[in-house]
């Protein structure tokens, strides 16, 4: 009951504040209400290695921006809830952000499932919502109030198949995780394979917490004509796939998705990861980007700021949260306030925004704004990424 009591108090408090503003229309800047940013992230649970850095990024940069005076003279106020990776909790917390906390914009939905649970609520409440999850379904078909910063799984599949084709290969075996990210990636891979003249000759799955996948890999190896293997998943699974791949002595080219584009993957998979190729954003290979690359300055600064504060590698997922926050604040700045309709329109007008994930240009038809160029093909060499294109 206590929660409701305090909720009531906040409501009353907000009411009193609104009243004060009406009574003193020329109130000084200090009395300006803060810009309320809400986030629902999977800080714990199976996707915590995505949600935890996302939370850290939001906290770090909201704090920094506030120290620099905020946006349009207004301070930022960040509220983060942890959904533990559960879709229904994400829905509840989104309601809490909208109804109880009265936020101006929502960032988050670490996974596709948690995002999709929040989407109908944001649409109904007409509140701008920037998702940090991967799947295409979030922005296709376009939803008026919903945007996203990470590359889609379709872009990743296209990048990988383009590389497979470049090597003169055409018969690919898929092995994917049977949870949200892997399943969606798998479906998109099957969908776009035809466009590249690629034939899927085998198709296996594993659970995110499986300890051994040699049985599935043995089946892939025995598939007739197989020329390359593509694994879609994140977390520990792909590292186990990679190790088992080496254990079985399979020498076909192995591709991973952007879901493992962090040094952590190389560390876990060890020497078995040598030669593995995957699509990665500019952030992952910040130091290798040519100086002329438009992203060079942004990713280098972000990486340094994050890593100096938290003493851990800035993953691509951390970058997605950074991009989301900056796109939101830029839109609020251009809109001249937190009017939700204006902010939404301004997010849609985001053009040539240089983020950690790539150069973003959105439109009424594209609520992500990234092109396949946002990905670089990298290969693991001597325990580090080597830039291929």
């Amino acid at each position: 009951m206590k929660a409701y009591g305090s909720g009531l108090r906040t409501t009353l408090g907000a009411g009193a504040l609104a009243l004060a503003l009406v009574l003193h229309p020329t109130a000084p800047d200090a009395a300006e209400p803060p810009i309320k940013i809400g986030a629902v992230l999977s800080v714990t649970g199976g996707a915590s290695f995505l949600g935890d850095p996302e939370k850290k990024v939001l906290e770090l940069f909201v704090d920094r921006i506030n120290k620099d005076g905020g946006v349009k003279g207004r301070k930022l106020q960040l509220t983060v809830y942890d959904d533990g990776g559960a879709a229904d909790k994400a829905a509840s917390f989104t309601k809490r952000l909208i109804d109880s906390d009265g936020v101006d914009i929502i960032i988050g939905g670490t996974t596709t499932a948690t995002t999709m649970a929040a989407v109908p609520l944001a649409e109904k409440a007409e509140i701008p919502f920037i998702s940090l999850a991967g799947a295409v379904v979030i922005v296709e078909p376009v939803k008026k109030w919903v945007f996203k910063t990470p590359h889609t799984d379709r872009l990743a599949a296209e990048k990988v198949f383009a590389d497979v084709k470049k090597r003169g290969l055409s018969k690919v075996a898929l092995i994917s995780e049977d949870a949200g990210f892997g399943k969606s990636g798998h479906d998109q891979s099957v969908l776009v394979a035809k466009d590249f003249g690629i034939e899927i000759v085998a198709d296996e799955v594993y659970s995110p917490k499986d300890s051994d996948v040699t049985a599935q890999l043995t089946r892939l190896r025995n598939a007739p004509g197989v020329q390359a293997v593509f694994n879609f998943g994140f977390g520990q699974g792909p590292a186990i796939v990679t190790r088992n791949y080496q254990q079985l002595g399979i020498t076909l080219p192995l591709y991973q998705s952007h879901g493992v584009a962090s040094k952590e993957y190389i560390k876990l998979a060890g020497p078995a990861s040598e030669g593995v190729r995957l699509p990665a954003s500019g952030l992952v290979i910040a130091d290798q980007l040519p100086a002329a690359d438009p992203q060079k300055a942004v990713v280098t600064t972000f990486k340094k700021t994050y890593e100096d504060t938290y003493r851990m590698e800035a993953s691509a997922f951390a970058g997605h949260a950074y991009d989301g926050l900056l796109i939101a604040l830029a839109a609020i700045d251009r809109a001249g306030g937190t009017d939700k309709v204006k902010v939404r329109d301004e997010i849609e007008k985001t053009a040539n925004f240089v983020g950690t994930g790539g150069v973003v240009t959105m439109s009424a038809k594209d609520h992500m704004g990234l092109t396949p160029d946002a990905f670089h093909m990298v290969e693991v060499r001597k325990g580090d990424w080597a830039l291929l294109d």
Binding site: V43, D212, T214, A239, I240, L268
Partner: protein
């Protein structure tokens, strides 16, 4: 063909040995209290995570492992001392809920003390696969099997030959009876938690080079271990190992020959069928119910 089958079998043996090690700890606490300890998986996680962080501090593996096992055993004793013993004669279900609370607590502590990343331990004897008739297995799998075997032998000796072990069994048969003949119930409980936590930690450490570890690793290991222990027959160490192997081989064969999406389901179907014909598990005793 043979090599394919053999590869599935090796995969199953690797998985099975992991589940067996996770399952063994359940039987010790069950023997002393008839309680299923839902925090058992967390003991495995603590062992592995503590080893990772001690190695990270620069300790050699040979020193980090015993230290980590000691830490886990201490956590086990603390759990028994501050949560299980004070519950006194509460019903078994109540104590099970206490262990569920403990598992949430331990995961919470682990994510604060350590982090939310995945970690790998180096394999004990390298990662050069052992090849048999075209199928391969990692040396670490042999370590897991060897440690399971050693653990069953040690437990058999403990429950069959030592006073402490016999006292534990006596308590499991009749708490009051044991108390009347002078068995210190409290000490038996503390010992059983220390033992199963220590054994769990060893298991967690030996499997970590294969499965990796994180603050949440105990959830899966606990579930599979529980399945292994029940399938084998609760309170029977050999049963837990047998149960683990059956579950592991069922999963691998199913992934290999049927469908990788339904491999876990296949394992549970087998468990259900076995329990249908052997209601006390593969090696469980037909217990007489107290009236």
């Amino acid at each position: 063909m043979t090599s394919t089958f053999l590869q599935f079998l090796f995969s199953g043996l690797t998985l099975g040995a992991i589940y067996a090690l996770a399952g063994l700890g359940f039987s010790i606490i069950y023997n002393a209290s008839h309680v299923i300890n839902f925090a058992q998986g967390e003991f495995l996680m603590i062992g592995a995570m503590a080893t990772v962080s001690l190695v990270g501090l620069g300790l050699p593996l040979e020193l980090a492992i015993p230290l980590a096992v000691a830490i886990a055993a201490a956590v086990g004793v603390a759990l028994a001392r501050f949560a299980v013993v004070p519950a006194g004669d509460a019903s078994v279900v109540t104590v099970i809920i206490i262990t569920i609370g403990a598992s949430i607590l331990l995961r919470g502590v682990a994510q604060v003390v350590w982090d939310k990343e995945f970690h790998a331990l180096p394999a004990f004897s390298g990662t050069v696969p052992i090849s048999v008739l075209g199928a391969t297995m990692l040396p670490q799998s042999l370590w897991v099997m060897g440690v399971s075997l050693a653990a069953i032998l040690a437990l058999g000796w403990f429950f069959g030959r030592t006073m402490a072990g016999k006292a534990m069994l006596a308590v499991s048969y009749s708490r009051l009876g044991a108390q009347l003949v002078g068995v210190p119930i409290r000490r038996v409980l503390l010992t059983s938690f220390a033992l199963s936590a220590g054994l769990g930690a060893i298991g967690g450490i030996v499997v970590a080079p294969i499965t990796f570890t994180s603050y949440e690793a105990g959830v899966m290991l606990g579930l599979k271990g529980f399945s292994a222990a029940v399938l084998g027959g609760l309170g029977n160490g050999l049963g837990a190992v047998l149960g683990g192997l059956v579950v592991g081989i069922a999963e691998a064969m199913s992934a290999g020959y049927l469908s990788s999406a339904y491999k876990d389901a296949t394992a549970f179907v087998i468990i259900l069928v076995v329990l249908f014909f052997l209601p006390n598990g593969l090696l469980g005793h037909k217990g007489s119910e107290r009236v």
